[in-house]
Each structure stands twice: as C-alpha cells, then as structure tokens.
Amino acid sequence: MAQMAQDQSAFRMELRSWLEANCPAEMRDGNSSRDHTCWGGRNWVFESEAQETWLNRCIEKGYTVPTWPKAYGGAGMNRAEEKIWQEELARIEARRPLDSFGIWMLGPALLHFGTEEQKKKYLLPIARGEIRWCQGYSEPGAGSDLASVQTKCEDKGDHWLVNGQKIWTSYADKADAIFALVRSDRDAKKHLGITFLLIDMETPGVSTRPIKLISGMSPFCETFFDNVEVPKEDEDGISSVVGTINRGWDVAKYLLTHERSMISAIGSGTGGMRPLAQILTDDGAELDPVLRAAAIKAEIDSLATGLTLERYKDMAEAGQGVGDASAMLKYVGTELNKDRHELMMAAGGSDALEWDGPYGSRPADWLRTKANSIEGGTSEVMLSIVSRRVLGLPG
C-alpha cells in the first residue's frame, strides 16, 4: 500500500514537471468547453500555434489517449494513473489536448471488438488527431428507440450499398468518416439485423445538412446516404465492418454504456471542470441567499456524483460489470448539468442574456445543456432501464 502510494506520487511529480515544461501558457485557460478544444481531422485549422504545439507534444507521449496501449498511440496508463493525469491537468487548468468521437467511442469499440488489423489501421490516426470521426446512430424514426434503425445496407458482392438518413449526427459536416448503424437484415428481429459500418464521408452519395438549434449553434446534422458504395475491404483486406455482420447492436450497446458514463462526467464537476462556486462568484457577483442555497445543493450533488463516477470507473477496471448502471450515471450527470447551467444563468442576471455579452458563450451553453438529457438516451429511457434491468421491476 505504502509502496503503491509512493509510486503514484513519483508518477504525479513526473507528470507535473512534464506539464510545467510542455503545456503552453495559452493552453492553461481552463477552457475545455467543446468549442475550444482541438478536434483534429484532415481539415482541422489550429486556432493558434500553441494549440498545435500542445497537441503534438501530447501525441509524442501518448497523452491524447492516456489509457490506450502504447502500441496504438496511448500511454498505457491504468485507472489510478489516468486519474492523476486528469488531476494534474486540472491543477494548471490545462485544456484537453484533443477531443473526438474517435477517442471517446470508436476507439473503445475497436479495442473491444476490432481485429488486430483494424486496430492498427484506425487507432493510431485517432490518437494523433489525423482523422475526425462522427457517430451515425439516430434516425428520424429511431431516436430513443435506437434499435429501429432503417438505413438500408445491401450486400453487393465487393461492396455494401447504403441508402437512408441519419439525424442528430454530431459535427457530421466537419467529420472525415462516420461509424454508423445500418439495417443489414430486414427479416431478422430488430436487434439482430444491424451492422456497425465504417464509412468515409467523402464517398459519393454522402451529404450532410447542419441543424440550427435554439442555442444558435449547429453541432448536429442530418446525414444522407444516397446509393453509397462502401467497399467491404480496403486494399489491405481490412474489413469496414466492426464486430460481426448483423450483430452491430452488441457494439452499439457496448458503446452506449460507454457514452453514458462519458456524458455523465459533464455534470459532475470532474474531468477538469471548475467548482461551481468559483464560476458563480468569479466576477465578484454576490449571490442572494436563495440562489446561494441552490448553488450549495448543486455543489454537494456535483461532488457526490463525481465520486460515483470514480467509483464506477474503479469497478469497471476491477472487472465488475457496470452495464445497465451506466444509465444511472447518465441520468444523474445530465440532470445535474442542466441545474448547474440554470444557476449560472441566474447568477449572471441580465448580463447573461446577451449572445455575445460579458459572459461569452454562457447563454448558448445553457441552451445546449437541454439536449444532455435527450441525446444518448433520454432521462426517461434511462429510468426505464434502471427500473427494469437494475431493479427488476415487471415490464
């Protein structure tokens, strides 16, 4: 125990001095909101030289994907080490070097379901920020009922022919490639005829249309597939299907669990987020007693939710299945995030009502959070999952 603590503190000191020497000052502004991190990809334009330097230095050490194996561009950190890495980033308010759906979703799916060849081909470019992936799950007729996907995928010998439409595809207009759920067997039961397919966005027949949201932002798109021919294998014989054909739901379910824990992190004040107290009183704003009381409660719930996320990550690392309990993490985390943003708006008063006012993106961020409890499964779906699968209540 003492030895472990010692090793960890040596590890912390090593990271701390590396960060001190390598994290550019401009990247230490505590701004890890999704609009300020680097997303990478073929067409990425760095916002500053510092952003590029920061990314490159992290790539070299495997710090863009700290828990991935070194062979695939990671740093091979275990959970305890990753936690220290995050704490050290937060300590100097460093931005995350790279955000992407490749890191959060496709990578974990490939690590779990991919062949060795697929891992070699896809993981390194994700770790290096060379490709930007988007996630093609929801369809106009398949939102909360995700397994109802209808986008048609036909076997045409050397290629798959894809026709259909996706919706709520995050940043599809900026992505280089999409991992999509497609209906490959129309006669099978709905969970059994789905395939998890990788498609290059430059393939003829793929088009996107951004959806303007109440926040004024367009983080989501509609994505159309019009006679899109997806090669079954590339020139090296590597398949464009992850997992087994017609068993894409297994991959999707695994990823949903993963996604839910990730989304829940938003609201918990972990992962480098600043304490609510600091945000609310940053500009010396005095909180009236009613608002202050609400803020204290939100802070209490944030801290406890953060600890819960840590506890479940520890359980996952210890090999205890988290499974359906991720629905709890998603529900609690997103509802809390909405509360936090309501408080931030209230603390800002009329100054927070201007689009580009003294609080910058605060109003747009507030509106954006309303999607948190819808995307990746609504709060109500999460509660139904908990009640049926965790509590065993009758269906």
Binding site: I300, T308, M328, L391, G392
Partner: protein
C-alpha cells in the same frame, strides 16, 4: 467494495438478520425499552465494540471504512445500540489522547463493559462552537453547570463526554454518568431509542477528567465528531437501503387494477430515481470512510458531504417508501414508520443538512 469489505458486510448481515431484525426494535419499544444490553455484549464479542480500538487495548482496529460497512448494515434493520456513541465517537476521542487512563477506557469500550454518550448539544440544533455550559475553576478542579439536550444514548451510558466552556476556550470532560450533581432525564424519542436531557448542577471535575488539553477540546473532539458523522451517514445510507428494499419488494408483489403496481411507469420512475439517489450517496459515504482512514486531517469535506447527502437520501427513501406503499405504509403494524422516524432523528444528530451544507460551502468558497 473490496473483498474484505464484502465479507464483513455479509457476516454482519447474517448476524443482524438473526439477532436484530426490525422486529427486535419493535419489541424493545413495546416493552418500553431503548436498548438491549445482551445484544451489545454479543456485538462486543465479535469485535464491533472495539472496531476503532488498537489491538493492544483488546480492539479489532479495523478502521473507519469498516465502521461504515457495519453502520450501514445496522441501519438496514434499524439496530438500536451504542455503536456510534461508544465504539465510534468515544473511541476516536480517546485515541487522540495517549495516556494510560485513555488506554484503559479504550479497553473498557472494546470489551463492551462500558458505554459512552456524547453531551454536546444545548439547543434544538447542533452547534458545538456555541456551547454555553460552563466549567469554572475551583481550586485544582472545575465546577460544571448547565444543561445538555439530545444526548443520544445518554440515559443508559456509563460515562459521558461533556463539552463545556472554560476560561479561554472549550474543554472536553470524560465523566462517570453517576457523578454527584448529574441528573438524567430520558426523553421519549420518535425513533424509540435512548436520548436524554442531562443537567449538571455544580458537578465537580478534576484535571484527571479532562480529555486532551484544557481550552482545546476541538483537537480531540473534531476527529471524534467527524468519525461519528461519517458513521451516522453510513447508518442513514443503510436506513435508506432498508426502506428502499421494502418498497421495491412491495412493487413486485402488490396488485391493483389487476396488475402488479411495479408495472406502472409512474412508480417505476420514482423507484429508479430513488435508486440513483442512493447510489450517489453510497459513493459519498464510502469516500468519507476512506478519507478518515487515509488522510484524516483533510477529511472534513468528505465527511460533511456524506452526512448531507445521506440525510437527503434517507429522507427521500422514507417519504417515497410510505407513498409507494399506500395506506399500509401509514400503519404502525408495518415497519416503514420506524424507518421514517429513525431517518428524522439521524437527520438532526451531529449536524443537519444545513449545518453540513454550510461547512461544504465554506470549504468550496461559496
């Protein structure tokens, strides 16, 4: 939970299901009693009374995380015992002092021979800093005058830890409960457990009776309070789990309109929301125990977080418990009421939600 913790929880559950189900509390209440001395002796034999006592003094010295495991299991069936007052609070206070008298006292706690109660409160709210009871110098000794309220386990305890104001601060005294001038008035509490108002009329205390240093009570008392608050939070998470378990069980067996009521989405979502709440609180409770074991100097935030969350969760669990049971939940024949009453008493003991929320706010800069 670690494997050891799971084993401890399982063995505690086995013992308590057999020896201290909720019915035991009901029987005590119906017999006009608040505590079963024989049960406490059994617990002492298993090492529970000495859970925080060093092995040299006959304890099992298992630490605060283990305390939390036991307290949670006790909470599930509302076990009435001096576990928190003696084995957790008094033992932690005594461990801050290294003299031989404290060591003897620890041995007596571990063996189950002697029980303690903590006399801090003077009004309806926990607020040790505002203590008014006086301990004035009288030659080589002190004279204690004043009144302590809500002394949990105080009517039956053998000894009392008493907080009083001295010349330049607060001082903690360790006194036998039958010393001249001490009058104990046991109150009929809603949770059917022991609590007393205790009056001190010119009670003599010598330097020997001072625990720690004169005017510096908090050095000894703060760790003891934090240990007690964390353990109480664990007990409350058990109270919530017990009430919740009954409720989910009922949803699976009660039929109305020709179907199991657990099929109604309105009830499913209430139950699921409550489960989420209990899970989040369980994390805060476990964290507090670990912090007290690993970094006690910096455990205040974790402890207050656990107590605040557990207070909130236990309240929700019993309110929802009664609501989802319908009319039967309101009857005395049914156990849910016992959970509700214990949750309310535990909410107030050692600082309510507001007290701990304010501590958290100060630490977090709000």
């Amino acid at each position: 939970m670690t494997e050891e913790e799971t084993m401890l929880a399982d063995s505690a559950r086995g013992f308590l299901d057999e020896n201290a189900p909720v019915k035991q509390l009901r029987d005590l209440r119906d017999a006009g009693k608040t505590f079963d001395k024989a049960l406490w002796q059994e617990m002492a034999k298993m090492g529970w009374a000495g859970i925080l006592v060093p092995e040299d003094q006959g304890g099992s010295d298992m630490g605060h995380a283990a305390v939390g495991i036991l307290a949670r299991e006790m909470g599930k069936t509302l076990v009435a015992s001096p576990f928190l007052s003696s084995a957790v609070i008094a033992a932690t206070a005594l461990r801050q002092v290294s003299d031989s008298r404290a060591q003897q006292a620890l041995s007596a706690i571990a063996s189950g021979e002697v029980t303690y109660a903590l006399a801090v409160d003077e009004g309806p709210k926990f607020s040790p800093e505002k203590t008014e009871m006086s301990a004035t110098r009288d030659g080589n000794s002190f004279r204690l005058n004043g009144e302590k309220t809500f002394v949990v386990d105080g009517a039956l305890a053998d000894r009392l830890l008493v907080l009083a104001r001295t010349d330049a601060g607060l001082t903690l005294f360790d006194l036998p409960a039958d010393r001249d001038g001490v009058t104990r008035d046991q109150k009929g509490m809603i949770d059917s457990r022991d609590a007393a108002k205790i009056t001190f009329d010119n009670v003599e205390a010598t330097g020997e009776d001072v625990l720690g240093n004169v005017d510096h009570a908090m050095k000894v008392l703060q760790p003891a309070l934090e240990a007690g608050q964390a353990a109480l939070a664990a007990e409350m998470s058990g109270v919530a789990a017990g009430a919740f378990g009954m409720t989910v069980g009922y949803l699976k067996e009660r039929k109305q309109f020709g179907v199991l009521i657990g099929q109604f989405q309105a009830l499913q979502h209430r139950a699921a929301d409550l489960w989420c709440h209990t899970e989040v609180t369980a994390s805060a409770v476990a964290h507090a125990g670990r912090m007290l074991d690993e970094d006690p100097e910096n455990a205040s935030l974790a402890v207050s977080l656990a107590k605040a969350r557990a207070t909130d969760t236990a309240k929700r669990a019993v309110i929802e418990g009664v609501q989802m049971h319908g009319g039967i939940g309101m009857t005395d024949d049914f156990d849910m009421g016992f959970y509700m009453k214990r949750a309310r008493v535990a909410a107030e003991w050692l600082g309510d939600y507001g007290y701990h929320a304010e501590k958290i706010a100060k630490i977090r800069g709000l």
